[in-house]
Point group: C2
Chain length 286, copies 2
């Protein structure tokens, strides 16, 4: 994508997926794409970002490992580095997302388009899998997703299921809910299970009370969507779990992506199915 | 397994797999089983142990993640804890392996039957997948393994493939080699690929020179085995990679398992196939 191109052409390229992950990130870095990434980069694994000071990084990495449905680890940087060596070696996590959220003492203090200033020599960056990957696979299999059809953000709920703690990180599991026709629930389960690095199979189908959810029409995050009589509410572990856990830290600067504004990796989504760990994507050395 | 039982009965129970992982670990802890674990606990995932001081744990965890074929992470403890919360919450990693190796400044300084004295308040323990899991699956599928038939330790070689570094951890990939009849290579590949947490698919088939191996009859670790005219040498990433990387650390006490004397987890091997991450084994919270 040359810099002399018209924005119109570029937007078209991005939206029709003619662009490579590298060129999409280039456009984001240059401020040519500032919206959410749901519309672009289809076919490539997208990721949640969390970055925090090195002294908390071991505990957070352990938290992710212990709660891998919600926080499936895709990559982790060296201390002070913003380069994801496995997921996109040419990328810079400080500039290659369209928008960020910066937290201090559990509060949002900025929502900038770059975190070059905030990312210190002690920051460690984590990329965690994201539901866009399995949603694309569900759509391809003919399973309609209401929040997408209605142009809404998926409904998300804070459950009463405790995460496995790794102090100081803890809290409760957050889930996303998608209404699925009863005769497609099994298929939706099978398809999403093929993507353990994008939250995998649902954690629950059917009864919101099992998760401590009182009212499906009042999500804690995102927009409400209706569940029709022939449908079941299907609940998947959600990456917001990790954002919440990280943001609640009392000291230091924590950086996350702005909701829906994810990092686009070099990995084709198809490559990240069951048998393959991200680190297997390229042959070791040689 | 009661303590009043005769050792003969106990050995029989262990060897015929009538024992639960918990009772096997109990026998090991009490000094009733001091040999290698290859003969016992079949059907349960076994693991390599590495424990090192907290200040190196983030870098080592990152090293494992970047080299997950060789060092597939199964569990990590809290700082100072020797309890593997996911893999076996009732176990103690300081006592539940039959034998250990203790390293200081890259040298073996002890090979004790317990590391209660060496495991400090700053130690973090890592459990990494082990080839026993896929070997059992290969045998079940009728693929014979020469080193087992001949009562030998599998041949292992230091390759010239560099690991992805996570300073101070680095070094080269170590592989294990098993001769497989040419018409079974594809099956062996497919079966082992189902166990990404036990090294997964082979990293190479056929040409030792591709890995920088000059002489198959002179392994760097383990015993030599012959490769017959109708067979291919098949190479898998090996857990010794992680032991070597950890042992070379210049400061602090590093603890590993004694070769072949592994940790036996609570996880049935069948549960740890492709779709399932270890952390999914038990339902989150609730």
């Amino acid at each position: 994508v040359g810099e002399c191109r018209e924005t119109g052409d570029l937007t078209e390229d991005l939206a029709t997926n003619a662009a490579s992950p590298e060129s999409i990130r280039h456009s984001i870095r240059n401020g040519e794409w500032r919206r959410g990434t749901g519309e672009i980069g289809a076919g490539f694994v997208q990721a949640n970002l969390v970055a925090l000071p090195a002294e908390m990084a071991l505990a957070f990495l352990t938290f992710c490992w212990r709660n891998s449905r919600a926080c499936p680890l895709l990559d982790v940087t060296d201390v002070g580095s913003s380069r994801p060596l496995l997921a996109a070696p040419s990328a810079d996590l400080r500039t290659d997302l369209p928008r960020y959220r910066v937290y201090e003492k559990g509060r949002i203090v900025a929502e900038p388009e770059s975190v070059v200033q905030q990312w210190s020599e002690s920051h460690v960056g984590f990329l965690l899998g994201c539901s866009f990957t399995f949603e694309a696979a569900l759509l391809e299999a003919g399973i309609r997703l209401r929040h997408i059809e209605e142009g809404k953000v998926v409904s998300m709920f804070l459950t009463n299921w405790p995460c496995r703690p790794s102090p100081p990180f803890g809290g409760q599991l957050v889930v996303s809910m998608r209404p699925i026709p009863r005769d497609k629930v099994r298929l939706a389960h099978e398809i999403s299970a093929r993507f353990p690095f994008a939250h995998g199979a649902p954690v629950h189908v059917g009864n919101p009370e099992q998760l401590g959810i009182k009212d499906l029409s009042r999500p804690d995050y995102g927009d409400p969507v209706s569940v029709r009589p022939n449908e079941e509410p299907v609940f998947w572990a959600c990456g917001v779990t990790g954002q919440l856990a990280a943001a609640q830290v009392k000291s230091g600067v924590v950086i996350g992506h702005y909701p829906g504004h994810m990092f686009i990796t070099d990995w084709p989504s198809r490559a990240l199915t069951s048998h393959r760990l991200p680190a297997d994507w390229e042959r070791l050395g040689g």
